[in-house]
């Protein structure tokens, strides 16, 4: 579930952009577009509950957030990280589900290495495995194409398509257009001169 009602994020008592409104239905895939520094990251973080300065209202439930930082403990293996995410969400993960998710993102060979030995692209794939295992219906993604090679980008598109087809919602800040059917764009416009 994702609704925005005249939402404006603030930073240092300044409004970052013009008020945004959005009503997302199940199956919606929304691209968040705007120039650098417009506030895309801040908006996603606000929806994820990490940024507390805003005007207006929003409702965002059952979400998962993928920011610029990986969110993986470098001293744990991918499997351990995924189990930990399960513990965090209160979801019981059995081995079969884990293996399937790892296999889907093509990380089976490296599944038992410490994450600090994995490349950025490989870590991104582990993050995608996490999305697969999560019970969240709304995905808040900040620049999901970062560090992904061509195969990785293909994988990302497949996962996003799958999630939306199953009735989930995706809100992704991206400079590269998402190649998903049924996607629409939410444009962030800079705030006016007198915005306070």
């Amino acid at each position: 579930m994702l609704n925005l009602s005249d939402l404006v994020c603030r930073r240092d008592e300044r409004q970052l952009f013009a008020p945004l409104s959005l009503h997302a239905e199940a199956g919606d895939c929304i691209e968040l577009r705007g120039p650098n520094g417009a506030g895309k990251t801040t908006l996603l973080r606000t929806l994820a509950g990490l940024h507390s300065q805003f005007d207006g209202a929003f409702a965002c439930a059952e979400f998962l957030f993928q920011g610029h930082r990986m969110g993986l403990d470098e001293l744990m293996t991918p499997i351990e990280n995924l189990r930990w995410y399960g513990d965090l969400e209160g979801v019981r993960l059995d081995d079969a589900a884990l293996r399937e998710a790892i296999g889907r993102v093509a990380m089976a060979r490296a599944a038992f290495n410490l994450c600090q030995r994995l490349s950025q692209g490989q870590q991104r794939r582990v993050c995608m495995a996490r999305w697969l295992l999560s019970s969240a219906s709304t995905w808040l993604l900040d620049e999901p194409y970062t560090s992904l090679d061509a195969d990785g980008q293909q994988l990302l598109n497949e996962l996003l398509q799958l999630h939306c087809d199953k009735g989930g919602i995706v809100l992704a800040a991206t400079h590269t257009p998402l190649r998903i059917s049924n996607s629409r764009v939410l444009e962030i416009e800079p705030a006016g001169e007198d915005a306070r």
Partner: protein
Amino acid sequence: MGLKEFWHKLGSPRWFYQISLPWVVGFGLAALVLLAVGFVWALAFAPPDYQQGNSFRIMYVHVPAAMAAQSLYIGMGVAGFVLFVWRMKLADVFITACLPFGMLLTALALFSGGVWGRPTWGTWWEWDGRTVSTLVLLFLYIGIYALREAIVDTELRGRASALVAMVGTINIPVIKYSVEWWHTLHQPASFTLTEKPSMPPEMWLPLLVMVIGMYCFAAHNVLSRMRMEIIERESGTQWVRALVSGQRAAG
């Protein structure tokens, strides 16, 4: 005006600015009168202490300064709570305003405590309950100050200061008691603040006057700083611009 309405109105810095001028003037005058009277009374008319002679008169500066400094910190703690629960901007303005004067008062309390110690015990500095307590208070103030210097974002800075002020305030009674405890173990025979009841009225009346005078001075200082802070923070808004241009036209 009921309490609820008053609380609601405090959400508007502009309203506060408009009603606070008479209070600033009032507290200022009261402070001037009380401190002048108290000072003269304390120095000239109160009887000398049978043990310490005339040097104990520095108490008339030290005690009010220390009490006011501590009250200001607790005030910051309470304002911090208000900031977190009601998100009132004025609470952060209050905390910003209390900080400089609070630090000044604490330093004054420390200095006067030292001056008191010199003729009484022969040292500029004595690690007793009172001095340690005051020194810790100074560090509590400096902690908030340093934290504020490190955060640029106004709203985050306010929340961070509020949090630290609250935690510090909760710890103040614990710190005070622990230091008193340690002090009584090490130096059972010193003049302490808590011996007030044994002071005759000729001694504690001028002290009371000085204390109230100091509190009025603190209130005057804090309120006027709050007004300045409000002008600075709201400098882009209509009402401030009108105010400033109106003053320019008049002056």
